[in-house]
């Protein structure tokens, strides 16, 4: 590493452009909104950000995102395990399918999920008679969020599983541990940081999601209205201050989650050196 003398050209130009681009397109717009909210008094901000309707929206957003991330932590771990450890026909194809939620626009995801779980849909026709309403309910919000945040745990875990040394598991087996015991005391602890990273990534993605949810949810105040939708509704009623206050709450949470993800990723790479 030539840290003291670097003969590479173009640092000033590329760095200047990078900062300019990010500044104009990302920081200035976000900063403008924060500035506007700072012009409100603390009392006004607090009143806007904590109306009963807003609190209900946060509760649904957080609850549904948490559940979705939790489901993905479990099934994502299972899926990553199956894709790395076992061989079966069509494995590469299944591996490629995991990226569908990244590639499929969220509006399309919401549209098709709403149809699948509606009373006449492929899944709804069996589930609705059992009392499971997978569309236009709070469950619907969770289902949409599971879909959009599905790849994160799988994709975070796969490289970690690939690099894991199986000798350690063999050693545990040699020492007489059952396969289950080995998994719980040897495998699980070394996967935990990566699973947690994937969980937080899923959660962060789910918390901000809008497109898929508004298709599948009934979007009713206090019941099935997520926080991003509340922002849009307030904006349509020209309630700018209220919309911005809630947006700032979400923004601060997003930034905190981003920081948490960075710390977790550092932990993961430290763990697997």
């Amino acid at each position: 590493m030539s840290q003291h003398f670097n003969a590479m050209p173009g640092f000033r130009r590329t760095m200047g452009f990078t900062l300019f681009y990010l500044g104009v397109l990302v920081l200035l717009p976000i900063g403008g909104m924060i500035f506007k909210v700072f012009q409100l008094s603390w009392g006004d901000f607090w009143a806007h950000a904590t109306t009963p309707r807003a609190l209900a929206a946060y509760r649904l957003s957080f609850g549904a995102s948490f559940l979705a991330a939790f489901v993905n932590a479990i099934f994502g771990t299972l899926l990553a395990w199956v894709l790395v450890r076992y061989s079966f026909p069509g494995k590469r194809f299944v591996d490629a399918l995991v990226d569908i939620p990244f590639a499929l626009p969220t509006a399309v995801a919401g549209l098709t999920l709403a149809n699948l779980f509606s009373p006449n849909g492929w899944l709804g026709q069996f589930l609705v008679p059992l009392g499971i309403k997978g569309a236009y309910s709070q469950l619907a919000v969770v289902l949409a969020l599971i879909f959009v945040s599905l790849p994160f745990v799988v994709r975070t875990l796969q490289p970690v599983l690939e690099q894991m040394e199986r000798e350690v598991e063999e050693a545990a087996a040699t020492l007489g541990a059952s396969r289950f015991r080995t998994f719980i005391s040897v495998v699980a602890p070394s996967l935990l940081p990566a699973v947690l990273t994937g969980f937080v990534l899923s959660f962060a993605r789910a918390l901000g999601e809008y497109g898929s949810v508004i298709f599948i949810s009934s979007n009713m105040q206090y019941k099935t209205e997520i926080a991003p939708l509340l922002i849009v509704s307030l904006l349509e009623q020209f309630e700018y201050s209220a919309a911005m206050s809630i947006a700032v709450v979400l923004l601060v949470i997003s930034i905190l989650l981003l920081a948490a993800i960075n710390l977790l990723e550092r932990w993961v790479s430290h763990f697997h050196r």
Partner: protein, 302 residues
């Protein structure tokens, strides 16, 4: 010592187990659960899009795609994507050069900043531009006086789309260019190449697959973005409707024909998603093969 003899050595069966594998029953059970999850949550929704799209027959399918408002939505989406993606590709290359080829303080912070648009809710991404350019925004009066339309018009939708797709290319290129190091560039510079030549003939060829990969993902998101664009668009049919907004409008129309039409329009985006996945898989397969070949030639020469 006595304990050792009570544990029989199962030579032939233990061989395949290696002590670190599950029994075949557990293994296939896990595979079936995983495939079931993938089937219900990923495959079924995708197939359903196409099934519903052709629900009223193939004639109706193409008819609903030929509707003037749908055609104009397709056109608008293409225009926005054709501007937003090259901008972010150019940004990605510049940012990757600065971050990967140099050491400086605050690098981690800069990378986090590049990631920021991924963390922000799309709705918030749209809102920040309303705060600047909306009627009550900072520049609202001035824009009104000069008859410049940004919100509820193309420029606002372009800004929102560009915002949410900023990180794609940079994120793919930074780790790749970091892994490639600077040795080859240093060699080119020593031999008398200038900065542009070095970038064009050395850096770009060695990272072009990463660049294409980033552009493909950026393109898929730009064409499919819904939340950020819907906040700034106003969804005026034939004017400020992109393909995803058109899907939304048709879905919320009361008639069942419009419902089928919304799936027909959505199937265009689903096709785009499939195409994206195919190209992505091909690029990954290529990179893996190149890596394997490089390793083999390394072990041969050793």
């Amino acid at each position: 010592m006595a304990g050792l003899t009570t544990r029989p050595l199962r030579g032939d069966t233990a061989k395949s187990q290696r002590g670190s594998e599950e029994t075949p029953f557990i293994k296939w059970l896990l595979i079936c659960i995983a495939l079931g999850f993938v089937g219900v949550f990923l495959v079924l929704p995708l197939i359903n899009v196409f099934y519903q799209a052709f629900h009223n027959g193939i004639g109706f399918y193409f008819e609903s795609l030929r509707e003037p408002d749908t055609l104009s939505a397709i056109q608008l989406t293409l225009v926005i994507t054709l501007i937003a993606v090259p901008m972010n590709a150019f940004f990605g290359m510049a940012a990757a050069w600065a971050v990967a080829k140099f050491e400086f303080r605050g690098k981690a912070l800069l990378i986090t900043l590049i990631d920021l648009p991924f963390a922000v809710s799309p709705v918030v991404a749209g809102l920040v531009f309303v705060v600047w350019f909306g009627r009550q925004g900072f520049l609202g009066n001035w824009l009104d006086a000069h008859d410049i339309h940004i919100i509820f018009a193309l420029p606002g939708m372009l800004l929102a789309t560009t915002f949410v797709t900023v990180p794609f290319v940079a994120r793919e290129l930074i780790p790749l260019m970091q892994a490639n190091g600077t040795d080859q560039e240093q060699a080119a510079l020593t031999l008398g190449a200038n900065g542009w030549q070095t970038f064009w003939y050395v850096t770009l060829p060695s990272s072009k697959w990463g660049l294409i990969y980033g552009i493909i993902l950026c393109n898929a998101r730009a064409m499919g973005e819904f939340g950020a664009v819907s906040v700034v668009s106003g969804a005026i049919a034939g004017q400020t409707e992109t393909i995803p907004l058109r899907v939304d409008k048709l879905f919320h129309s009361a008639t069942s024909a419009a419902g089928v039409a919304s799936f027909a329009v959505a199937s265009l985006l689903a096709l785009l998603a499939l195409l994206t996945l195919v190209i992505k898989s091909y690029l990954e397969w290529r990179t893996e093969r190149a890596y394997a070949l490089a390793q083999r030639s390394e072990s041969n020469s050793a």
